[in-house]
């Protein structure tokens, strides 16, 4: 257990002086990082996720997956029981047995993630040692990695970060295995829907950036190689650890807002283009038609959202970029923006675009936050699944945030889709009231 959810920002930069942030501690109403498995296993198509945890963990993953949307999922739980708690040597042997059982059942699996949970961490079951040990047995057929998705260390989307950080540590290893593969100039980091990746590829090509790769790759064997000049661009604001691993490998982050909304997407591409010294005229000629089309598409949602107020409970960690988009491009009024934690460096460009008077809060005391929300009585509340229906029952309109991590929302052609996710509950209220 070397890492905790950063309730305090580690580095204070730029605007902390003029921006007061309410820091709260209390009951959190957020998923733990295990939930990331639900979209990660769709993204890395030959990977399997084995949670080493309790019945609670198993129940969480299945409840979060809509009480089983998948017939044969690529995730499972090795449930720790009282026999394992008796002695640790046992637990390791048990784990080896379960992994063997699993890999026999699923010969198609190329990469196996052992995912740590609260119980496995509290009993100090060393999954990194287990991964090393098991790798020896199964290499080259299966690579075995580990990360923690536990609720004592990660919140919701941080699970993706932990997973990608584990995968990023494989980059040097991969370079050794495939020395002939070309190094990439640009690494795009964070899970994107395939269709968004394809759109982004076309834009990078048009801009003249040809050597790039997406991370995570769709197939676990396609891990890219880094060179001395590799730069990376984050697509998600919750990739703290992954970024740190890439920094340690010598890659350089291109600071940018996140590609949500027209403005965010444009700034994100522009940052990349600038980093590669691309002629601004060329950038403009590539971006302009897309910007125009996206803005046109946004117009309809703007009519619904303009002037409406919105309150964010901390959840997906996308709150700040979303608020920026909804405020600047759709005219929504911001009340409170809650985040599980605020990574000031990665969010510096975003924070600069937010109006100074909005209240920011970090961490959570859900009861107090509910009180504030009731006082504001915003037109819309963004929150997790546990709060949504009770708030609807209080007459508030909610957008539950899990869709925001499952739906393609990044990029120009998705800007209107993203806005529509927010417009729909309001439209619905109006329809039902009529």
């Amino acid at each position: 257990m070397n890492r905790v959810i950063p309730l305090q920002p580690t580095t204070d930069t730029c605007d902390s002086a003029d921006r007061a942030i309410l820091k709260e501690r209390g009951q959190r109403e957020v998923f733990c990082g295990l939930t990331g498995i639900i979209w990660l296993h769709r993204k890395i198509q030959d990977a399997f996720f084995l949670v080493v945890g309790s019945r609670t963990c198993a129940h969480l993953v299945q409840s979060a997956a809509g009480v089983m949307i998948f017939a044969e999922p690529r995730f499972a739980t090795a449930i720790i029981d009282d026999h394992d708690l008796a002695g640790l040597a046992d637990a390791n042997e048990e784990l080896d047995r379960v992994v063997n059982q699993l890999l026999t059942r699923r010969p198609d699996i190329k990469m196996l993630f052992l995912v740590g949970s609260c119980p496995s961490e509290v009993i100090k079951l060393d999954l990194s040692r287990a991964a090393e040990r098991l790798s020896k047995t199964y290499t080259p057929r299966v690579r075995i990695l580990n990360y923690s998705g536990s609720g004592i260390e990660t919140t919701f989307t941080q699970g993706e970060d932990a997973c990608l950080a584990a995968l990023a540590k494989e980059i040097p290893q991969h370079a050794k295995l495939h020395p002939t593969e070309r190094e990439v100039d640009l690494l795009i980091v964070g899970c994107l829907a395939d269709i968004v990746e394809d759109q982004f590829s076309r834009i990078f090509n048009d801009l003249g950036i040809e050597s790039y790769a997406f991370f995570p790759p769709r197939r676990s064997g396609d891990i890219p190689r880094l060179g001395p000049n590799t730069r990376y661009l984050l697509v998600q604001p919750f990739l703290t650890d992954t970024a740190r691993v890439l920094d340690d490998l010598g890659a350089k982050r291109i600071p940018a807002p996140f590609p949500l909304g027209v403005e965010g997407t444009e700034a994100w591409f522009a940052a990349a283009a600038k980093a590669f010294g691309i002629d601004p005229n060329r950038v403009e000629s590539v971006i302009a038609p897309k910007r125009q089309r996206a803005n046109l598409a946004l117009e309809r949602q703007r009519q619904v959202l303009n002037g409406r107020s919105i309150f964010f409970f901390p959840d997906s960690q996308l709150e700040i970029p979303l608020a920026r988009f909804l405020h600047r491009e759709l005219g929504m009024q911001l009340t409170e923006i809650g985040m599980p934690y605020i990574h000031r460096q990665h969010l510096a460009e975003e924070l600069a675009l937010l109006p100074t008077e909005v209240s920011l809060s970090e961490g959570q005391d859900v009861e107090k936050q509910l009180d504030r929300c009731r006082t504001y009585r915003p037109d819309m509340v963004v929150c997790g699944l546990g709060l949504a229906n009770p708030l609807e029952a209080e007459g508030l309109t909610t957008k539950w945030s899990i869709e925001l991590v499952f739906t393609p929302i990044q990029g120009f052609d998705q800007a209107a889709d993203l806005a529509e996710l927010f417009a729909r509950p309001l439209v619905r209220r109006t329809k039902l009231a009529a």
């Binding site: 969480l60 409840s63 089983m68």
Partner: protein, 532 residues
């Protein structure tokens, strides 16, 4: 360690939450990490409740593990008490907090709150959800009833003459499979019989109601998984007998009425009461002939599985080819039931074993939980849900009990629905060669939630689009636009359920603008134009 793809039951503290959430005036302080708050969504999303479960989680983190987790617990308990002012405070630990051994009971006692505190010890690494619910309910009944316990040797006073007989209804909880509707049905039935309901618990009960349980003459146990241990304690300490028959199905409801009459020492006209029942006549009707000896596989909680097997074989005329449960606590009862059908019960909580058994048996109908529904979908076998675990769609808005005579009607409908009925099966046989009645044709009434096969999925995308003629400025009118390969490929990346619409919209868009070919840009221009 056990490899698990899906689990039939949650951990025991979920059982405790089902009790707390069912009741009024109770609050549960649960020592747990933040991720365990997912449990709230079982109630707010799956059961679609309009309020949060009355649970405060301490949500401790790794950094707290050094030693202030106990303080954290005390703070959480103190502020939950101050905010919610419950009449009873339940305290306990989830699996992770169990490992750090903070003793929530002791810590809460030290706070000296002026409200009864129920400390729960629910071993998360040995036990499961239903056990947790039963244990919580039992401990609560004991805590709130102990002051009224009869002195040793003393007998229960007979009911005063002239007073109507009374009972408690025990077992319904939050997140229970149709508990809400069963309760309505059973209450109605008891009223018709002339039995007064003293207390229903835990659903809707306040702590003070729990301390009035001893006032009733007997107990009606609806869900033994939850209520058995409490009922036993009540019987031992207050001399209250309880019902054994679970009123699921026409026959069982009649038997239940007889049992209640015996316990209440009254008479009633059963024939009059059965008048509302349609299930029996429907089962006798000609269309039902085709249901004869349909091979059915049954799996679920013990209570619902045993009852379903009885109804299936005796009231529907099916052949029970498989019966099983994940409730190990009631394994003996399920084994006994299975032996009546000449089969061996499957007692397991391993989803994969259930799947394997179903694959071997190839039944014509599966009666199971959400898990079996999933297996059924994969194996393309008709299925109806009879037991938890369930999905949001198993909490219907309409009245849909499983118990009593109306429950029997509901069972008939829901089990027969996925199957083909007499005339229909007959006609499909006759018209087998007709393209619309090919072998794979699904029953006509199976619209609801029906599987999309890759075949009909492809249809959506390749459906011919009627194209209106549009006059275009120079040259011939464009009546058809051709998809460029790149655009076609992009179209295929759109999820199938909106692909058909995207295709039609794009084509309409192209024709209206007189574009003979559809490029990638056209696709996205159209997307932007039409919105979603």
């Amino acid at each position: 360690m056990k490899l698990t793809l899906w689990t039939y039951e949650g951990p025991p503290h979920i059982g405790a939450m089902r009790i707390a959430t069912a009741m009024e005036g109770v609050h549960y302080v649960l020592h747990a990490p933040q991720g365990d708050t997912y449990a709230d969504l079982l109630f707010t999303m799956i059961e679609r409740m309009n309020k949060r479960p009355p649970v405060t989680y301490t949500t401790f983190q790794a950094r707290d593990l050094g030693g202030d987790t106990a303080e954290l617990f005390k703070d959480a308990a103190r502020s939950a008490y101050a905010r919610f002012k419950p009449d009873l405070l339940m305290v306990g630990a989830s699996c992770t907090a169990e490992l750090i051994q903070d003793d929530p009971g002791g810590l809460a006692a030290a706070l000296q709150l002026s409200v009864p505190v129920l400390p729960l010890e629910l071993p998360a690494y040995q036990k499961k959800e239903n056990w947790g619910a039963a244990e919580t309910f039992y401990q609560m009944v004991r805590l709130l009833g102990k002051d009224y316990v009869l002195p040793p040797g003393e007998k229960r006073k007979p009911r005063a003459p002239g007073l109507p007989p009374s009972c408690n209804i025990l077992g319904p909880t939050a997140l229970g499979f149709r508990h809400r509707d069963d309760l309505v049905e059973i209450r109605k039935l008891l009223r018709q019989i002339g039995v007064r309901v003293n207390v229903v618990a835990p659903l809707g009960a306040k702590p003070e109601d729990i301390s009035r349980l001893h006032e009733a003459d007997f107990n009606v146990v609806l869900y033994p998984e939850v209520a058995n241990s409490a009922a036993q304690w009540l019987s031992k300490n207050f001399g209250q007998p309880s019902t054994k028959t679970i009123p699921i199905g026409f026959n069982a409801t009649r038997a239940f009425i007889e049992e209640v009459c015996t316990l209440a020492q009254i008479h009633c006209d059963i024939e009059e009461l059965t008048k509302r029942s349609r299930a029996r006549w429907y089962a006798l009707s000609v269309d039902s002939t085709y249901l004869t000896n349909k091979r059915v596989f049954i799996f679920g909680d013990a209570t619902h599985a045993i009852a379903a097997a009885k109804v299936a074989s005796q009231e529907m005329g099916f052949q029970v080819v498989g019966l099983g449960t994940y409730s190990r606590e009631l394994a003996r009862e399920v084994r006994e039931a299975a032996s009546q059908y000449g089969i061996e019960a499957l007692i397991t909580d391993d989803y994969l074993e259930v799947e394997q058994r179903i694959t071997e048996l190839q039944p014509e109908l599966i009666l199971g939980s959400q898990m079996e529904r999933h297996i059924a979908k994969r194996l393309k076998i008709p299925c109806a849900v009879i037991s938890a675990p369930i999905h949001v769609q198993d909490f219907p808005a309409r009245y849909s009990p499983q118990m009593g005579f109306e429950g029997a009607n509901v069972l008939f409908d829901t089990w027969v629905h996925p199957l083909m009925m007499g005339l229909e099966e007959h006609l499909i046989g006759m018209f087998r060669e007709d393209f619309e009645f090919h072998d794979g044709a699904a029953p006509s009434h199976l619209g609801h939630g029906h599987q999309r096969t890759p075949a009909n999925e492809a249809n959506v995308a390749s459906e011919p689009t009627p194209v209106p003629e549009v006059a275009v400025a120079n040259g011939a009118p464009v009546t058809e636009s051709v998809w460029e390969p790149e655009a076609q490929r992009e179209l295929n990346k759109i999820p199938f359920f909106v692909r058909g619409k995207a295709k039609r919209n794009t084509e309409r868009f192209a024709i209206e603008r007189g574009l003979p070919t559809i490029s990638l840009e056209t696709l996205y221009d159209a997307k932007a134009h039409f919105g979603r």
